[in-house]
Amino acid sequence: MTETTIPRGNTLPRIRPWLGIAAAASFVVASVMALFWAPTDAVQGNVYRILYVHVPLAWLAYLAFVVVFLASVGWLWTKNPLFDSIAVSSAEIGVLFTGLFLVAGSIWAKPTWGVWWTWEPRLVTTAIMFVMYVGYLLLRGLSTDFSRRATRAAVFGIIAVIDVPIVHLSVLWANSLHQLPTVLRAGGSPALDSSMLLTLMVSLGAYTLIYAYFMTARVSLELARHRRLWTT
């Protein structure tokens, strides 16, 4: 196998601690804003505050699986193992956040809707998304040949991303229990107070930093593993 341009991991370990500090600090700021600074909701009361966890987790799930898609295209295009490392790292993190997203949603649903779970379009499509990426991770264990494994996974990673917009748009396409989008509304300003919107934006930023931190850690781990297993 030809020695491809895998970064030897010189830059990632240097920025990782700073990314970690930034992620932790912004998470604390976001949590304080969400719990104490943002006003309570006129209809739902304080229970709505889980929005500041639920929505960023959903965003991270989407982001992670779009990164899997892009990295999968990158692998098929260039055959650079770096892309495969990014894909598997993002898929694992995406599965973690989709799981937390489902749990947070369930915790929000019980006191507001009155049920933990119902077979509503967005819940069904999200459950499918979760199971598909668990399947993606299982598929990666099938072959011990690096190149074949990466190619199969990449094909799956490209197909599976179709569910991401389906999850997001399901509330517009079908009768659903979920409310319509709050921030990205068709032809209108966001339907929430400006202090709530700011809190949500800070939370989104904080969770994105957490994702970036997890990614740097997981990708360097995968690159180290790759060097150990396949390049000698």
């Binding site: 309570t40 909701d41 209809v43 739902q44 009361g45 507001t112 009155g114 509503e120 409310q179 319509l180």
Partner: protein, 148 residues
């Protein structure tokens, strides 16, 4: 070598199992959840059988909601009218009723029609909209939680 093949076979079976699970969920639930609920107009148009379990969704009509405790803790007997602006259905339910169920807001009920065209709901799900706003001064939120 044998161990390797065994592990791969296990993974292949697991991957197939996940694929089957996805397929089953998609086939059995996605089809029915694209019509997650029917509106009152659809119920009248599609001739729903008496006793057939369906989900019905719409708005709780203003002035139609009455609630009384059943005597069991946390349980209420409620009666309200679900409307989509054109047709109306009278709904009866008893049990744990979500705190967000209120007049003018959305609700989805699961159950079936009785002989007198009343909908007997076995489950009441409250729907909330996408608007979040701070309560006006002095007002208490409709749904109160224990957080200070």
């Amino acid at each position: 070598m044998l161990e390797r093949i065994g592990a791969r076979r296990v993974l292949l079976i697991a991957a197939l199992a996940v694929a089957v699970l996805v397929g089953t969920i998609a086939a059995t639930n996605l089809a029915s959840s694209t019509v997650y609920y029917m509106t009152p107009s659809e119920v009248y148009a599609k001739t729903v059988q008496m006793g057939q379990t369906i989900r019905l969704g719409g708005l709780v009509e203003q002035g139609s909601l009455t609630s009384r405790p059943t005597g069991r803790p946390g349980e209420n007997e409620v009666e309200f009218i679900i409307t989509d602006g054109n047709a109306k259905v009278r709904v009866l339910a008893r049990g744990a009723i979500p705190g967000l169920l209120r007049e003018g807001a959305g609700a989805v009920v699961e159950g079936s029609f009785a002989a007198d065209a009343t909908f007997i709901a076995t489950q009441v799900i409250a729907k909330h909209d996408e608007v979040y706003t701070a309560p006006t001064a002095g007002a208490t939120p409709a749904h109160r939680t224990g957080f200070p």
